[in-house]
Symmetry: C2
Subunit: 152 residues, 2 copies
DNA sequence: TATTGTTATACTCTATAACTATA
DNA sequence: TATAGTTATAGAGTATAACAATA
């Protein structure tokens, strides 16, 4: 009998998987063809919150394989939304950062993202949404977003 | 200014997407090759919670396209975990239900799933996990699991 | 020799459209 | 004509392995 274990009748992961799918579909649906896809928005969002970082760090933060990070950044860079530059201290590294255009595009995407959340979480009150957000932040162990280093 | 809108700095969906990815990988990693994959566990879990239902209803509950439901059920049926039978009342319909073997396999999978949750949510207290679960249940608008209509 | 990023490749997940059989 | 399920197919997401450049 595992006393410290999650009760079987209360598994959260299926619910999270479901919400993630709903969210992804809604985001993709709210985006005009050729626009930012779900993954890209999430990557931009992270770069905006945490600032410039290496590809490796980006991949870890996204929980994404390094080889996928390459393709993701290629797409974003083609659109001029991110910039890769060599780290002078270690020329193997690429430092990735948001371009000014990326910030602008991200802001628009965040508006759409917030609308999608309004739809998906319509059953929750603002307080409950805030509580949910706090729990999720703690779960992923991410630092709180906080004011980001002022770029527009 | 949209006063009823989610604050941009508190978007939950990127966090949910991240947790969903972590969860899926952990589940797949905890499964021996040839074993149940993430999707399949979720489908079995739903059938166990809600009892027999049509493929259409299953697809809606899973937020999955009907064509995907077919493939998913084919896999499960090949392993003898689910059963499809025609609805006598409307012979176009397939009624899907868990087989006894499916119940057994699901129980084992739930143990693994619970372990994965213990890992992913290690930063949360049991009370917080319960609170998270409740919020997620409300968000997906799903009925609480409840005792299922006795099939074995 | 180890590490960062890249390429090539394959497998899974998901959606769309056309088809069948029932209604 | 409409609906439940199926098939075929294509595209997105993700992981693995081998490789290049740099440390």
């Amino acid at each position: 009998m595992e006393s410290t274990r999650t009760t079987f009748e209360r598994l959260s992961m299926p619910l999270i998987a479901h919400l993630a799918r709903l969210g992804r579909r809604a985001v993709d649906a709210s985006t005009e063809p050729g626009g930012l896809r779900h993954r890209q928005v999430i990557a931009l969002n992270l770069l905006s919150e945490r600032g410039a970082m290496s590809q490796q760090a980006l991949g870890e933060s996204l929980g994404l394989d390094p080889s996928n990070v390459v393709g993701l950044l290629n797409e974003l860079e083609e659109c001029g939304l991110t910039i890769r530059r060599r780290d002078p201290a270690d020329r193997r590294r690429h430092i990735v950062e948001l371009s000014p255009g990326g910030e602008t595009v991200l802001k628009a995407a965040q508006v759409r993202l917030a609308r999608v959340e309004d739809t998906i979480f319509h059953a929750l009150s603002p307080e409950e949404r805030a509580a949910l957000y706090e729990l999720l932040v703690r779960a992923v162990g991410a630092d709180r977003p906080g004011p980001r280093p002022q770029c527009d």
